[in-house]
Symmetry: C2
Subunit: 490 residues, 2 copies
């Protein structure tokens, strides 16, 4: 499998595309830009969902479900939102097909909708139209709701997980009585995302705000987490928006305060998507295939028997099943692959490619000596352990792999972060080194866009608690009080 | 809340509509036929999903995700499927909006799709188009895949949960090497659905097959579970289809057998939807509001303090929190409602209306005497228990409520099932009694449709293991070998 598999150094982009397909994560469908998420890929997404959903609920949120379709007119109600979202989208115009005189199935022109429906690219508008009826007084606040859903944005250039016309995501939409409370919520969910990225995905992230130019259409402030991929490109992994009263005003959502006054409601929204699957793959995987952090691996441990005949297999299977049971009792997912249709070498390559964190192998000599071979996917190291205490070793090893992957990614990011003070240094870093480039910027969108035009680098974020430092904009030379994070990005 | 709430006997249909909205389960949205599932309703759906998903995985299935959109031409490939599904549907024709000369947002006519996309009404076509690439040899079979998704059918008359343009569901799509294996799968999933309906929803169901006329478009045989609602109308609660080789032939999906021959693959599909929410509400609820079976209730136990001053509340809260903790340790969900903004009487009415299975109340006298008042929602009975052993009582009481609801629904169904042998008896039963009517039928679609035209009754199912019995069709008088189940249906 790994034989005809492109190496990262040869063509990182092709390596990614091949890996996603060959590891059975996803594939392109017959519908332009829409992907099929295959069972192995979906099992990882389910683990992500479960971890996030638990964190959302622990922070007081409930799930709900809002319509797939949004009336066209809703988008026009929030002026900047329509600019950002109602352009490249899937538009439903008719509701019936018919068989024509030639027996062909065609659109029935008599079944034209009075108002076109947009397949949701994001749900602020339909949700705030709904909240108007849910909110009368301060007693109805806060509303802390999340939705797991599919959304559609008609992207022209698509790549599996990273940019697809349809993708899966969650979108939180909360309503608050005060600005302070909404801001606390925005930051709280940013922290939830950062914790998830670091503790489950083993991906270190920068937390910060977006510049005005990169802000969500309709937001007052967009907070984000930014991760660094192995090719030195940044990936926005999650955003949390403080929406102020923009949507409340657009959809006329007011509430009666304790003081008996009518006021507009304060809003936040926040989301992560199947894009995280792309980040997960690109952060850790290598030239031998996927590398999955144990907390998100569908199969955490695989046991492979090595045998010459049925008798040996039978004997090994008894031991392997006992070990499987002991490990599973610790809440660890284990697969015992005793298929006779494939050889051990094929199985080793298969699970290595699929990123299974730990592989255990038992052969005839192990049976004699009470041993078992353990191979970890992250370091590719092998060791011989005693069967008798393998279940305790496994738990410890999985923790070790989880933290090693995080540390490795953190080291890489540290090594790939550059401070530059001149335009020449900046261009050199962006063009030849990649990574996060910390540089002074004059704070204008004009400069930001010019830098993007010349180098393709964008301001990924202005980090939270960014140290103040006087300097000069690397492009315009105008004064600046802090460095911001530039990078090329996915 | 229950004051201005319609009684079942006065107007069952209105009772249902009001209940769904007033109990915060769902509401109509601004988009015709599409519903908003509110947090309380969605929490029940999540419990349904979790239970079903566990059963699917225990029977060897994996989840995956396929595109929302289906190219129009795909529907024409399976002749009977197109008749059933590609007519009333949401059709995407364009992919861009623009601002016109008057500043209005309009569809950009230059962005017309070459081939229209249908928002999936069901996914057989796109999935079998995908399976063609997944299946080469017998080694690739079986494929046991399920998808949790939203689907759209452009219904003209909609009712919350029972019939909506967009709804949530799961659809299993499996591929097999032999007819026998596909038939075993079809029946296995029917059993999963029946077990779920009876053990979780506490709704007894009839298992059987559909007549040719009621069969899924594209299926060889449709198996179903049929439930009876309190108004004597039937509700199809789930279907499992044996699709033969119809979709394999339509999408050219062949495999190499062990004997090195090319053969078409055998298929099944099976699904349940948010319609189950409607069945759940209509099967158990009463004139005081929702009645939820404990296994699907988001809040299984609520504790309400009764107090006159802050001091009493503080004292009661210590006890209540301890009881809550003890009950939660048994995996039971408990809410302690110590809100001072609402009076105990209001809370009692609220949780009664929301169908919380058990309500515990603690007042000052209970504190003195070490007692606690327990009220069960199903029978509305109250009893005084000792605080000291309440956690054990609660567990037992929840089991008791779960089985009582099932037994009550079963008794109702038994009382509402009629054997009739003449057309006069049949019409009387259908028009005046309701319920399941067991009658002889001549086996023709012609008779079936005429009976439907005259009485609105349809053949709900031909039960599995139906006893053979010679008789005469109640409509045509022609010979018949078995009774089938007629009813008016949702």
């Amino acid at each position: 499998m790994a034989k005809d598999f492109t190496k990262r150094a040869d063509n990182y982009s092709q390596w990614y595309n091949e890996l996603v397909i060959k590891a059975d994560l996803a594939e392109n469908s017959a519908v332009r830009g829409c992907m099929v998420i295959k069972p192995y890929g979906y099992a990882i997404w389910e683990k992500m969902q479960a971890a996030l959903d638990k964190m959302f609920k622990e922070t007081g949120h409930q799930n709900a479900y809002f319509p797939l379709f949004i009336p066209k007119s809703f988008f026009t109600k929030e002026a900047s939102h329509v600019e950002g979202f109602a352009k490249e989208c899937a538009i439903v115009t008719h509701y019936r097909l018919k068989t024509d005189e030639n027996g062909k199935i065609v659109v029935d022109e008599t079944a034209k909708l009075e108002e076109e429906l947009i397949v949701r690219p994001t749900s602020e508008t339909i949700i705030w139209d709904t909240y108007r009826n849910w909110i009368q007084s301060y007693r109805d606040l806060p509303i802390l709701v999340n939705q797991w859903a599919n959304v559609v944005r008609w992207e022209m250039r698509t790549r599996l997980f990273l940019r697809t016309a349809e993708f899966l995501w969650q979108e939180g939409h909360t309503a608050h009585a005060t600005q302070e409370e909404a801001l606390v919520e925005t930051r709280k969910m940013l922290d939830v995302y950062a914790t998830f990225a670091e503790q489950f995905m083993a991906v270190p992230v920068l937390k910060g705000i977006k510049t005005a130019n990169e802000r969500f259409a309709g937001a007052i402030e967009t907070f984000c987490i930014e991760a660094l991929m192995q090719d030195g490109k940044a990936l926005q992994a999650g955003t949390s928006h403080f929406l102020g009263q923009n949507f409340a005003k657009a959809f006329d959502v007011k509430f009666l305060t304790k003081e008996n006054k009518q006021e507009y409601v304060w809003a936040t929204s926040w989301g992560v998507s199947t894009r995280l699957m792309g980040a997960l793959v690109m952060a850790h995987s290598d030239d031998n295939g996927l590398v999955l952090p144990p907390k998100l691996a569908p199969i955490q441990v695989v046991i492979v028997p090595i045998y010459k005949n049925d008798e040996q297999l039978a004997e090994i299977s008894v031991k392997a099943e006992a070990i499987k049971k002991a490990i599973e009792a610790k809440g660890i997912s284990v697969k015992y692959d005793n298929r006779d249709t494939y050889k051990p070498g094929w199985k080793f390559a298969e699970y290595e490619f699929k990123g299974v964190p730990l592989r255990l192998a038992i052969g005839p000599r192990d049976m004699e000596e009470g041993t078992i071979e353990v191979a970890r996917r992250d370091t590719m190291e092998k060791a011989i352990y005693q069967q008798i205490d393998i279940e305790n070793k496994v738990e410890h090893l999985l923790d070790s792999i989880q933290s090693n992957l995080y540390q490795k990614a953190l080291n890489f990011r540290d090594m790939s972060t550059y401070k530059v003070d001149s335009w020449a240094e900046f261009k050199d870093a962006i063009e030849n080194k990649g990574g996060f480039v910390l540089a002074h910027w004059d704070g204008t969108t004009e400069t930001e866009l010019k830098i993007k035009e010349e180098t393709k680098a964008t301001i990924r974020t202005i980090p939270l608690n960014n140290p103040k430092e006087n300097g000069k904009c690397i492009f315009s030379g105008k004064p600046s009080t802090q460095r911001v994070v530039f990078a090329k990005a996915y």
